[in-house]
């Protein structure tokens, strides 16, 4: 398919991500930081986010599996995850983390397990979406086009 069409599809897709709340304005900021001196900035950050989050989720699962759950450690991990997701603009993951943290404070094991599931779910969703979006971008670049800037009026 031709570049213009691909670009339009990318724009629509990205817009939908914003509309559905997967991403927020912070992601736009990241995109703005990408320039000639830093052409793969977004990809790098997103990849780093994926790696970091996988590790954190594994740690969380292990921590909550223990007979005596160390809520402090759990809280620390969730805090990290929240920080990463908010830095990248993964809004729903961030919100889920916030809820997770409040339950950690209450030391409610069942609720925290549920939250962990929620966070994982949101994470995989957004990971999927971002990977699709990045693939689209790669295709456009490979076809010789340039990635259109999303301008949104909030």
């Amino acid at each position: 398919m031709e570049v213009g069409q691909m670009q339009r599809r990318l724009v629509d897709y990205t817009k939908s991500l914003f509309m559905e709340g997967f991403l927020d304005a912070q992601f736009l900021q990241l995109q703005q930081l990408q320039d000639e001196s830093n052409p793969d900035f977004v990809v790098e950050v997103v990849s780093l986010f994926f790696d970091d989050s996988e590790k954190l989720l594994n740690d969380l699962t292990m921590a909550l599996d223990q007979p005596n759950v160390d809520f402090k450690k759990v809280d620390a991990h969730v805090h990290q995850l929240k920080g990463s997701s908010s830095s990248i603009g993964a809004q729903r993951v961030k919100n889920a983390c916030i809820a997770f943290r409040s339950f950690c404070e209450e030391q409610n094991i069942d609720a925290t397990l549920r939250c962990l599931q929620q966070v994982k779910q949101e994470y995989y969703l957004v990971k999927n979406k971002l990977e699709t979006m990045l693939r689209l971008e790669q295709q456009i670049v490979a076809a010789g086009g340039s990635i259109p800037m999303i301008e949104l009026g909030f």
Partner: protein
């Protein structure tokens, strides 16, 4: 006959006469011998006999006489010549001594007599002294009475108690039958019986004040004896016997205003009360001088005590009144404070709440203007923009005025181009004026400086407001704006007595006159113009949609600029002139290159500061660290990344100008790092600026940051523009704390 040497007495010894002589001689001798003994004995006993040697003489004389008479006893019978010769010797001696004694006595007896007269004299003196002692004692007793009375009188400050006590004590001291006090009535024409000693309830007897006796008493400050038949003294039922003597004395009633110490004795237009004292009838007692003196002294004391009581009453009343007023004032103050606090709270909230949506509307409308629009859409957007600008201005005005009232508003002083201000005003007003077909002319005096120091924005606002009013309220004609430097004589205006211009070398007074040919104002309404919210209701032509705040705000601004603003009009239909005088600072000849002295920096200045800036970023979270790094790299900084506090401390050097720290991560003691960095770099210019970067925070955290020694605080998420402006601000002011 034997021829003996005896001498025969002439008479026979048995003759009766001779016997009696014999016995008398014997007794004489006895007496003569015992007298000296007695004398010696008694003189020895007494200590004060001065003439001892006279005694000796006397003694000798008497002893010799005794001896003579004793020897004489032997001459009654036949005695020898020896006896006769002894007798003769004795007699001779006696004669000698007695002659000497006689001679001596001539001297001594007058002395003895004078002793006697002296004794008499001393006795008289003693009697006199006794009398005087008696007098003094009496006086002292009187004094004691007075003191006691005074003490009694002065031990209370209650008027009635004072007077009653006086009468009681006087009655007791002087043993009076009756004691009464007559006070002048309010009209001053009569004396009313107010207090008596014996009668419990004095009925309101009144006596006219202009009685000769009363006048006599009032005219002297001594106690005066009056006749018992005087109306003031007729207090008792007429007794059968002689009524006792009556004395009356005046009691000055002193008022506060009469306390002139210098003319104390000359109490001229004073009111007096009359105190009447009656001795018991049938007692034949007389008034003694010391008693009268006592009465006078007491009267004076009473006067003073009464005045004190009056003063005290007055001051107690005043104090109670003050206390009441105090309480009321306190209440009012508290209410006012509550009201002010409520208003401030309201304003604080509305300030933010109102401005935010306004800014959003304005910003987005202006952004919208940049996009592609159809002409109709463009018109609509422009209208939205204009209306929202107006609304924003109105909100700002209201909030400004409240800020002005708090006194919290300060002028933004800066150097600006005065001519440009006027040109701008003209440009803004020209469109409206041309629509209304009004001719606007601007005249700037040649000696008006081109540049001045002052608050440009507010000055323009004020001038614009006045010119705008002129245009608004003129249907036709012309508007003329003149501006010149005010000289001293034009400065003083009779309408502004409190406006005291002070000329100095660094300042000048700008005078702006805006004259319009519009509908004018009734001169009586002029004072109301500058009161906020007071609309001029009288003229129907005023369809101004303004809230009436404009002129009030202008007045406030002008006052802040130490100036004065007023409006003159000759009446309705005759147009009016608004005159404005403000104090501006003189600017030196500025050329364009000096203009960057102004507080706001042009943006490229900031850009050059950031480019190449060496910064250190500390963040445990890999993703957010990368994002921050990307941000800073995009801005052109030289970024070093660290992931822990130890690394941070290790790598930080004086080359790094700024250190960004994420402080919301549990486990990182950012305050500790701050303190250690402070210790590492003791010189302030070597130390990098420490900025906390955090996603969530509250006022407490902010205060902790400030206290720990951080130079700044930024909230995440940080946009590109925000980071740029923050860095610029930070580098310029060396401190940046975002408002929480």
């Amino acid at each position: 006959m034997e021829s003996c040497n005896c001498i025969e007495p002439q008479w026979p010894p048995d003759d009766l006469l001779m016997k009696y002589q014999y016995i008398s001689d014997f007794f004489i001798a006895l007496a003569y011998f015992s007298i000296p003994l007695e004398l010696i004995y008694f003189v020895k006993k007494s200590a004060v006999f001065p003439y001892r040697w006279v005694l000796v003489q006397f003694g000798a004389f008497i002893v010799l006489c005794g001896a003579t008479h004793l020897i004489n006893l032997w001459t009654f019978t036949v005695h020898s010549r020896t006896v006769a010769s002894v007798m003769t010797t004795a007699k001779v001696l006696t004669a000698a001594v007695s002659c000497i004694t006689a001679l001596m006595l001539v001297h001594i007896i007058p002395d003895l007599l004078s002793v006697k007269t002296r004794e008499l004299f001393l006795k008289n003196k003693a009697a006199e002294l006794d009398r005087e002692m008696g007098l003094i004692r009496t006086q002292e007793e009187t004094g004691r009475h007075v003191r006691m009375l005074t003490h009694e009188i002065r031990s209370t400050l209650d008027r009635h108690t004072i007077l009653k006590t006086t009468l009681v004590e006087l009655g007791r001291t002087l043993a009076l039958e009756e004691c009464a006090l007559w006070m002048p009535t309010r009209t001053g024409l009569e004396l009313q019986l107010s207090y008596t000693l014996r009668q419990q309830n004095p009925v309101g007897y009144t006596v006219p004040i202009h009685h000769p006796v009363i006048n006599q008493v009032f005219s002297s400050n001594r106690a005066v004896k009056i006749s018992p038949n005087c109306p003031v003294a007729r207090l008792r039922p007429a007794g059968k016997y002689m009524p006792g003597e009556v004395v009356a004395v005046r009691v000055p009633l002193l008022h506060l205003s009469n306390f002139h110490i210098n003319d104390w004795p000359e109490l001229s237009t004073k009111r007096y009360a009359l105190m009447v004292l009656m001795l018991p009838s049938d007692s034949a007692r007389q008034w003694h001088v010391h008693e009268l003196e006592l009465v006078e002294v007491v009267a004076d004391q009473v006067a003073v005590a009464l005045s004190h009581a009056a003063i005290l009453e007055e001051s107690m009343r005043a104090r109670d009144l003050l206390m009441e007023q105090n309480v009321a004032l306190d209440l009012a103050r508290r209410e006012a404070e509550t009201a002010i606090r409520a208003r401030n709270d309201f304003l604080a909230v509305m300030n933010h709440e109102m401005r935010t949506p306004m800014h959003a509307i304005i910003a987005l409308s202006s952004l919208l203007q940049e996009t592609e629009l159809t002409p109709e859409q463009r018109l609509m957007v422009e209208t939205i923009l204009k209306s929202s600008n107006l609304l924003a201005t109105l909100i700002n005005d209201v909030l400004d005025l409240s800020g002005l009232e708090d006194g919290s508003l300060q002028l933004d002083l800066g150097t600006f181009n005065l001519y440009a201000v006027f040109r701008e005003v003209l440009n803004l007003i020209k469109p409206i004026a041309s629509v209304k077909k009004l001719h606007v002319s601007l005249t700037l005096a040649p000696d008006l400086p081109e540049y001045a120091i002052g608050d440009e924005k507010r000055l323009m606002q004020t001038i614009l407001n006045i010119v705008g009013n002129a245009v608004k309220f003129s249907k036709e004609g012309s508007i003329s704006i003149t501006a010149f430097v005010a000289k001293l004589d034009t400065l003083r205006d009779s309408k502004a007595p409190e406006f005291l211009p002070v000329l100095s070398d660094n300042h000048f007074y700008l005078r702006v006159q805006v004259k319009d040919s519009g509908s004018g104002i009734n001169p009586l309404d002029i004072p109301k113009l500058f009161t906020k919210f007071a609309q001029n209701q009288s003229t129907g032509t005023r369809n101004s949609g303004g809230s009436g705040l404009g002129l009030a705000i202008c007045k406030r601004f002008v006052n802040l600029m130490e100036g004065h603003i007023w409006i003159e009009s000759e009446g309705l239909g005759k147009g009016c002139t608004a005159i404005l005088i403000v104090k501006l600072g003189m600017a030196e000849r500025v050329n364009e290159s000096k203009l960057p002295y102004m507080p706001k920096m042009p943006t490229n200045h900031g850009q050059t500061a950031i480019a190449g800036l060496k910064v250190l970023v500390m963040d445990e979270n890999g993703v957010s660290r990368m994002v921050t790094k990307g941000l800073l790299l995009h801005l052109g900084c030289d970024v070093t990344m660290v992931g822990s506090s130890d690394e941070c401390l290790r790598l930080v050097s004086h080359e790094h100008k700024v250190v960004f720290m994420d402080i919301c991560v549990p486990g990182i003691d950012s305050y500790g790092i701050t303190i250690r960095i402070h210790e590492k770099f003791t010189k302030r210019h070597e130390r990098p600026l420490l900025v906390a970067l955090t996603g969530n925070t509250d006022k407490v955290k902010k205060e902790n940051c400030m206290r720990a020694g951080m130079d700044g605080l930024i909230l995440k998420p940080v946009s590109l523009d925000k980071m740029r402006s923050v860095l610029t601000d930070l580098l310029e002011h060396r401190v940046f704390f975002e408002a929480i």
